[in-house]
């Protein structure tokens, strides 16, 4: 059997979702944004809700997410995506509304919008891509940057407090990495809160199932934010090869940002 015999439409088992446009992603090689875009598009295609979907793009690397999804989209100001989603969902309760945001957008400048959309229990889906760094602006510290992690604005590593020496030890410095996902899970307005990743096939499958649940909950429900964090990479700003970055993610990000469901059907998952 030759390769030509296999490559036939009837033997197709996997291809890029039709809900992605032909425009090539501008993301760096190996970036988890692309993978996350792909599985969101697959979920929307499988659910058949593309004619009812309005996405909200953030400011950050994924600012032009609207170019890649073949669904209607709005571009938000930095951090305001949950406010846009609220504004939309309240006047279009039957449409499928989702935000796509990075860590700086969702957990720094947009913290108020994030917490209050979650606390109001807006019936929306929020996708949160956490790579622990500001990608678009060139690798500065994010609220989710790990302690010790070197970034453009923490060139000697993030320090929550100043270290011993020179008599300043213990004084606040860069603060602590923020587990915003655990934080919003505490709010009564969140329904489904989960942390996933996309660095290997097994976790891509799980992440896709979680995203599907996050959309199904919205479609079948009346209230409650469905929140999916994707722990992702930033090869360029972590200054690593893509495969090495994924290994670093597993070894360093996941111990602090453990994968799994945090809240299901409005109930915190017992650990």
């Amino acid at each position: 059997m030759t390769i030509e015999d296999i490559i036939k439409p009837e033997n197709l088992v996997y291809q890029k979702s039709k809900l992605l446009t032909e425009k090539p992603f501008h993301y760096c090689p190996g970036c988890g944004h692309g993978t996350t875009h792909r599985i969101i598009a697959e979920v929307l295609e499988e659910l058949g809700v593309d004619e009812e979907t309005i996405g909200v793009a953030p400011v950050g690397c994924s600012v032009m997410a609207y170019d890649y999804f073949d669904v209607d989209f709005q571009e938000a100001a930095h951090g305001r995506a949950p406010a846009l989603a609220t504004g939309l969902k309240r006047v279009w309760p039957n449409k499928v509304i989702f935000t796509y945001q990075g860590d700086g957008d969702l957990a720094a400048i947009g913290t108020a919008e994030t917490i209050h959309a979650c606390n109001r229990g807006e019936n929306i889906t929020m996708i949160f891509v956490n790579n622990g760094i500001y990608g678009m602006t060139g690798g500065q510290m994010a609220p989710t940057t790990l302690e010790g992690m070197k970034t453009a604005t923490t060139p000697y590593g993030r320090k929550a407090t100043l270290p011993a020496g020179a008599g300043f030890d213990g004084i606040p410095c860069n603060g602590y990495p923020l587990r915003i996902t655990e934080l919003i899970a505490q709010l009564p307005g969140t329904k489904f809160v989960t942390r996933q990743a996309v660095y290997n096939p097994a976790c891509v499958r799980k992440a896709k199932a979680a995203i599907k649940k996050a959309f199904e909950n919205q479609i079948n429900g009346k209230s409650g934010v469905n929140f999916v964090e994707i722990v992702s990479n930033c090869n360029s700003n972590w200054k690593m090869e893509p495969v090495a970055a994924n290994k670093w993610l597993v070894e360093n990000m996941l111990p602090f940002y453990p994968l799994g469901d945090i809240k299901v059907d409005g109930k915190l998952v017992e650990k």
Binding site: M1, I3, D5, I6, I7, K8, N11, L12, V13, Y14, Q15, K16, S17, L20, P24, F25, Y27, C28, P29, G30, C31, G32, H33, G34, T35, R38, V198, Y199, N200, P201, V204, R205, N235, E241, P242, V243, N246
Partner: protein
């Protein structure tokens, strides 16, 4: 036990050569080409096509959606 034979088609011009597919192929089918595409990337290709089982792991992890996977049951 049924066995499968697979094949992948890489959109080489859109491949960025990140190598995540190769790292995640369970049977070592994929390598990065010595040649480069129009953007200068060493694109992914089936270096050992006979080994492909059509599991679609490569397609699943490809950040740019450039891999299409086919599979037949033998």
């Amino acid at each position: 036990m049924a066995s499968f034979k697979g094949a992948i088609v890489v959109n080489t011009e859109r491949c960025k050569g990140c190598g995540v597919c190769a790292a995640n192929c369970p049977v070592g089918v994929i390598s990065l080409a010595k040649e480069v595409n129009g953007k200068g990337y060493n694109y992914a290709y089936m270096a050992e096509p006979d080994k492909c089982i059509g599991c679609a792991s490569c397609g699943m992890v490809c950040p740019d959606g450039v891999i299409t996977v086919y599979k037949v049951k033998l």
